[in-house]
Symmetry: C2
Subunit: 333 residues, 2 copies
């Protein structure tokens, strides 16, 4: 393999089925990427036995649970796996961090621990949506419920950098999520943001509507964290609901059960293709380091993909790309 | 039939396939509901031949096209089918109005022609979402991109009245669309609205998230027109995309094609069940009369269901219910 050597710190205590699922995911990731090294962060009894040529245990004695108040937990639990993992990136011992733990705690720990990239007003969380025509980056999916128009310009630039790195698109097409195609449509925020995005984001192609997210008509969809979170959860919710109902159709009668045997493999491939886990977690964009956050319900494959995406973001120079984009526009914090 | 006699004005020129699809839909509606009378509004050569015991032609010489600027068109085309249809309700000649024409023009014509219900600050557009557990009313789906917290209280009350009338739920459960369950989550708008909804909307059960819309966990989901429009279009877009991809799976090989014969009837029933046309169009809530707006792409069944919903809203006393709800809360325009 010609891939550059990369070290990712992994929170072994993140996720509903930690640490076993995380350990399984780490093994998968190591098997896939021979140039990957892992700093395994967590309790001594969990991480120490995993020590190997490419796995270095780093003991963290505390754990932040899913329900804890993020900022308080990060402030008080300085030896938690999330805080220690972010610190390893800050100190240059790791190139990136992956956790399937509390999104809020990861955000707080990364923002405090790694700091923001110069000029970034608000870090944002993105995710890759598997659209019918192509995957696209949706940003923000929940970090910032209220934003200013110029914040959306920064989201556009950060989303663009992420699409270049993880979707391998040299010149991503960036669009604003709105409720009509014309620039004058939508909320005051959307109308003002449209003008700013047009003037300051390379590859801006205008507005898209909700239906364009599942269709996959552009590479980056920019929106505030409120709208983005609702859109993402509608999408995930309908996919879950529909596949459950389709299963009901397939299992309805002895005849449909026989027919299902021919159909199920194709449906399973379709389900895998639209499964968000395929793209491995949500990046926290705008912090001065690579930080990928996985679903709490991540399975081994999702953990492996999340670690893989972190390595890819490091190798693709995500932080430098974002810093260059932010430096070139007029809205500096 | 014991149903009360109802007269609905129908815009024969509304929709992509007008007038033929509208005429077909009117016939279906009349066949389904023996107490229904229709005022067929449009050009003389289209409406006059349709005259019968239960169909009264009303000539309107002008047509508002889908692309026209709504307010301008309504102001200048006073003899258009949309403006005339709304006037028939205002004058008491019709009990309600249905059009599959321009949503913006219907809104402008109904608001100007019928006026607002006393105390209503902003009329809103709702729609029924076919959730997995139960259908629910989503309001607003695009009439108001920017709203105040107290506007969402009015949306909650209007959505509640609509759910009582068309979903036959005596005590609808009303929720606020947000990005977390706790009252303190979400945008400033959502946080303030949560408190007001709790204090002023009977049946308010708290926040729901995007995934609750396809799941169908409550009877009424309240949101601003920006978020609601995005959510609706994500939902419609993913349903279209997924069924197209499933069709690809079924048609992939000779074997899957044979198996598909057993599966397709069940899938078709599922598709029909989640088809928004089942619930027939979107009501404009808050105007002083019943006004139901259909998709531009409505087929005959959708038109028939839209007319049926208009009749149902009239018989259920929708306008009176909304007026009572609005009068009982402190936010009066």
């Amino acid at each position: 393999m010609s891939d550059a050597s990369v070290t990712i710190a992994v929170d072994v205590m993140g996720g509903d089925d930690a640490p076993s699922v995380v350990l399984g995911g780490v093994r998968q990731a190591l098997a896939t990427d021979p140039s990957l090294h892992v700093l395994l962060v967590g309790p001594a009894d969990v991480v120490s036995p995993e020590s190997s040529e490419r796995v270095t245990p780093v003991v963290a004695t505390q754990v932040i649970a899913m329900g804890e108040h993020p900022a308080n937990a990060v402030r008080t639990k300085k030896d938690s796996s999330i805080v220690v993992g972010c610190r390893l990136v800050k100190e240059g011992r790791a190139d990136g961090f992956f956790s399937a733990g509390s999104t809020g705690a990861c955000m707080a720990a990364a923002t405090l621990g790694m700091g923001r990239i110069t000029g970034v007003s608000r870090p944002a969380i993105a995710t890759v949506i598997p659209g019918a025509a192509r995957p696209s980056v949706l940003v923000d999916i929940g970090a910032n419920a209220d934003v200013r128009p110029d914040t959306l310009v920064q989201f556009g630039l950060m989303g663009r950098a992420y699409a270049q790195v993880v979707l391998d698109v040299a010149e991503p097409r960036v669009a604003l999520l709105n409720i009509g195609e014309e620039p004058t449509k939508g909320s005051a925020l959307a109308q003002e943001a449209h003008v700013l995005l047009r003037d300051h984001v390379r590859g801006f192609v205008g507005n898209v509507e909700g239906r364009d997210i599942p269709a996959g008509t552009v590479d980056v969809v920019v929106t505030d964290g409120f709208t983005g979170n609702v859109a993402l959860k509608v999408l995930e919710g309908l996919a879950v609901t529909l596949f459950a109902q389709i299963k009901g159709v397939l299992m309805a009668t002895p005849l449909t059960k026989i027919a299902a045997m021919a159909i199920v493999p194709g449906l399973r491939r379709l389900k895998d293709r639209i499964d968000p886990d395929t793209y491995g977690g949500a990046p926290l964009l705008g912090v001065n380091g690579v930080c990928i956050i996985g679903h709490g319900s991540s399975n081994e494959r999702a953990v492996a993909n999340g670690i893989g995406v972190a390595a890819r973001a490091v190798r693709g120079g995500l932080v430098t790309r974002i810093a260059e984009g932010i430096a070139a526009q007029p809205f500096q914090e």
